[in-house]
């Protein structure tokens, strides 16, 4: 008996040794390290860029309203594009402070309600934070104000039009609101929330991984449905809805969709540091032939290429070249299925509080 015990022990410990040697080849992964990287190398830099970009946008807006002319308009438009792009890169971090201040809803609910915007301008008094004004604020409203017609039309509206003063105020109010609302978000990330975020390193529903993964998936869904699907009639049996594109007036829909894919990709990879892709590789068996992480990265590549290849404005492309838009839609769906099923399943990150006995 004793002899067998010793033998068994020897065999087991040798096996353990072999296995652990083999395991050492795997890159070390740690959720906390991933969260630290996401906070310090991805989220906070992206937020910092957006914050200063919003500051510049405000300056450009006041420059424009001080003397509306083709040059200041061009300057403001260029900055609007830049700031919107900066926003697309961090739209998916919609939790914690960003969630508390309702940034995602306030910044980018589209399509905008132009009648409401005009009514607000005419009235001259409004509460931009009101729920009813959600479709009259943010980037979509700016897109309308800066691109609704020819340059001359726009400059007229801001100079000789009887409501020019109101329109100027509305424009600066919009930007000022965004700037003011975003300041506490970046402040909190630079302050205590960063620690909170890094320390919530479990896999429960209130963990940072759960927030990250959930918003990541939701944002892919947003790109697939709101940015591409609805305008191209995917949600409505082929009845295209050209005015439902993001950034309808500037016609930069695919430009912004592309930025948002770039942002999502960075959210997945963690930039050059530790991210979900490393997490996946760590969970996967060693003998897996193609890593899910590679499949997702490839799919990001496919989606980016197809988005880039789409002609702007998307509002005409949905009818002119439906096949290409449809093609992109299907690729986005494939990306979403990878992330919402395979990836979610593999990482075991919980999305609800309910007890679970795995059935």
């Amino acid at each position: 008996m004793k002899k067998y015990t010793r033998q068994t022990f020897l065999i087991l410990s040798t096996a353990a040794l072999i296995v652990s040697c083999k395991e050492d080849e795997k890159p070390e992964f740690d959720r906390k390290a991933m969260l630290t990287n996401m906070a310090s190398a991805v989220i906070i830099p992206a937020y910092t860029t957006l914050n200063s970009s919003l500051g510049t946008l405000y300056t450009k807006a006041t420059d424009f309203t001080a003397s509306p002319n083709t040059i200041t308009l061009a300057d403001l438009r260029a900055q609007y594009i830049q700031t919107n792009k900066n926003y697309q890169r961090c739209a998916m971090y919609n939790f914690g402070p960003a969630m508390d201040y309702g940034i995602k809803i306030a910044f980018n609910t589209f399509p905008s309600d132009t009648a409401k915007i005009e009514a607000n301008i005419t009235a001259g008094t409004y509460t931009l934070g009101a729920v009813s004004n959600t479709t009259a604020i943010g980037f979509p409203a700016l897109d309308y104000l800066l691109y609704f017609g020819t340059d001359t039309d726009i400059l007229t509206k801001f100079t000789t039009d009887p409501e020019a003063a109101n329109r100027k105020t509305y424009l600066t109010d919009l930007v000022s609101k965004m700037k003011t609302e975003f300041q506490p978000v970046i402040d909190q990330w630079n302050g205590s929330y960063q620690t909170t975020f890094i320390n919530a390193d479990g896999n429960d529903v209130a963990s940072s991984c759960s927030y990250l993964l959930n918003e990541f998936v939701q944002d892919i869904e947003l790109v697939k449905n709101a940015k591409i699907g609805i305008p191209s009639g995917q949600q409505t049996g082929g009845a295209t809805m050209p005015t439902y594109v993001e950034a309808y007036y500037s016609g930069l829909s695919t430009t912004f969709a592309y930025e948002s894919l770039l942002g999502l990709e960075t959210c997945f990879t963690g930039g050059s540091g530790s991210g979900f892709d490393d997490y996946i590789r760590d969970v996967e068996s060693d003998d897996v032939t193609t890593s899910l992480a590679d499949n997702i990265l490839t799919q990001f590549g496919v989606c980016k290429t197809k988005t880039d290849a789409l002609a702007d404005p998307l509002s005409t492309t949905v009818n002119a070249d439906f096949a290409s838009v449809n093609d992109l839609y299907l690729e986005l769906k494939k990306l979403l299925v990878y992330c919402k099923t395979d990836m979610t399943s593999m990482l075991g990150i919980l999305i609800t509080y309910q007890d679970n006995d795995g059935d």
Binding site: A16, S20, L292, D355
Partner: protein, 462 residues
């Protein structure tokens, strides 16, 4: 005594009188655990999240007639449940308390299958047994106040049945693990154990593949055989030690709530009468009251032997047959889930899905994609995506909601008189790449939700 004759004595000599202490202890433990579980459920806000918040409820087949209570009634029922638990613990108006608990607990469970858990089913079954066993004849307020006759002994069946119920859970959970995902791929444990990788000391160990295999195999063997070691007087203490270690570990590692405690507490029924006596003595001193003297008069038990035999014979046959009903269906059980519930299949699947539902008007071919989030809670959506009967129920629900409805988007209108409901669903099972689960071609609204084979599911690809 051979093992066979011991089992025979434990299980088949049903009407032999045995000491009542074991049953009294079980009553107190079960009541206490249910009290904890009910209060926890309430404090976690689950009454609201699972039963008040959802606009649609996934009823069980054959139970869709159950009236759905409003919030006030629900909270009232939970308050009554708490009182019933106290009644069980103290053996106060015991039968009424046990019956009330059984009815209310089962009623709440039947409201929505989204929250189905095997241990809730187990609780209902035990509660059913608790109604019939004379658990209040010893160490109870009923005896103290003279509501029930005091007895030192109870018929063996009352304890044997509780042991049988534990045995069913373990053995069937063990049989369910005899399949390739569990034994050959160590899935889903491989994924689940990895979630604990941030633990100091054990974290790195837990994410090793061989640990997943060890847990899988050990868990299977444990489930299959533990009950036999618990039955054996010589091994039961060691076996109970394993019970504690095993369930405590699962409690630490997985979000399975009170299930491990249900098992740890439930298995105390196997421990020795001396142990149960000691517990009662301890509780007695806790309440500063020595044990109630038991009158010497021998209680003449009414002769219900025949009825008892029949009733529990049927109960046992039902329990043994139900988990095997899946054999009546073709296809992979995990994929189709035909005969999956009520079979002690615990921890066997990591399944996750993505669904898109479409309304289609058969005449105009008008189509509309209904966002799943619109009508379901997150938990409901997660559960529905991978469970065929829930997919059908949801499709039928959409059909009713959107019949004779006009939807607007921009300047376009979409009218649905008697819409078809189609779905495209992708599912991943135990680490396999996601694959098509339901193809868009089926009109789910026209498929009845019954026990017939679900031909409309895509074939499972290994």
């Amino acid at each position: 005594m051979t093992a066979i004759s011991r089992i025979q004595k434990t299980f088949f000599d049903w009407h032999r009188e045995v000491p009542a202490a074991s049953l009294a202890v079980y009553r107190i433990f079960f009541g206490g655990l249910m009290l904890f579980s009910t209060v926890r459920f309430w404090l976690n806000g689950w009454v609201r999240d699972f039963y008040i918040e959802p606009e649609f409820h996934f009823s069980y087949l054959g139970f869709d007639w159950i009236p759905y209570p409003n919030a006030g009634v629900l909270y009232f029922m939970f308050a009554i449940l708490v009182l019933a638990c106290l009644g069980i613990i103290f053996g106060f108006f015991y039968r009424t308390a046990a019956l009330t608990f059984l009815v209310l607990f089962t009623y709440v469970e039947l409201l929505d299958k989204t929250t189905y858990l095997n241990h809730y089913y187990f609780v209902s079954l035990v509660a059913l047994l608790m109604v019939f066993v004379p658990a209040n004849r010893y160490f109870s307020l009923d005896v103290y106040f003279g509501f029930a006759p005091a007895q030192k002994t109870v018929p063996n069946w009352s304890i044997a049945l509780l042991k049988f119920q534990m045995g069913i859970v373990y053995v069937f959970a063990g049989i369910a693990k005899l399949e390739s995902d569990w034994l050959l791929d160590a899935q889903p444990l491989k994924f689940w154990l990895h979630t604990a990788h941030h633990w100091p000391l054990f974290g790195d160990l837990l994410k090793q593949d061989w640990i997943a295999y060890f847990f899988s195999w050990f868990g299977c063997i444990y489930d299959l055989f533990i009950v036999f070691f618990l039955l054996n007087a010589r091994t039961r203490n060691v076996a109970y030690f394993f019970v504690i270690v095993f369930h405590f570990t699962t409690w630490m590692l997985f979000p399975i709530g009170v299930f491990p405690w249900v098992m740890m507490v439930g298995t105390t029924i196997f421990l020795s009468v001396q142990f149960h006596e000691r517990i009662l003595k301890l509780l007695g001193t806790l309440f500063k009251r020595s044990r109630q003297p038991v009158p010497a008069t021998y209680f003449v038990r009414p002769n219900f032997r025949k009825q008892v035999n029949w009733m529990f014979g049927i109960f046992i046959a039902f329990q043994v047959l139900v988990p095997f009903r899946y054999l009546l269906y073709p296809g992979n059980l995990f994929w189709t889930e035909q005969g999956f519930r009520f079979s002690w299949r615990v921890m066997l699947m990591e399944k996750s899905g993505y669904a898109e539902f479409y309304l289609v008007d058969p005449q105009t071919k008008t189509e509309w994609n209904v966002p799943t989030k619109k009508h379901l809670t997150r938990l409901q959506e997660k559960m529905m995506c991978t469970q065929p009967d829930m997919i059908l129920q949801y499709a039928h629900y959409l059909q009713t909601v959107y019949s004779d409805t006009t939807l607007y988007l921009g300047d376009k209108t979409f009218t649905f008189n008697d819409p078809e409901v189609h779905a495209e669903i992708y599912v991943t099972l135990n680490g396999r790449p996601s694959q098509l689960y339901v193809a868009k071609k089926h009109n789910l609204a026209a498929i009845p939700n019954d026990l017939s084979n679900r031909y409309w599911l895509e074939d499972f690809k290994e």
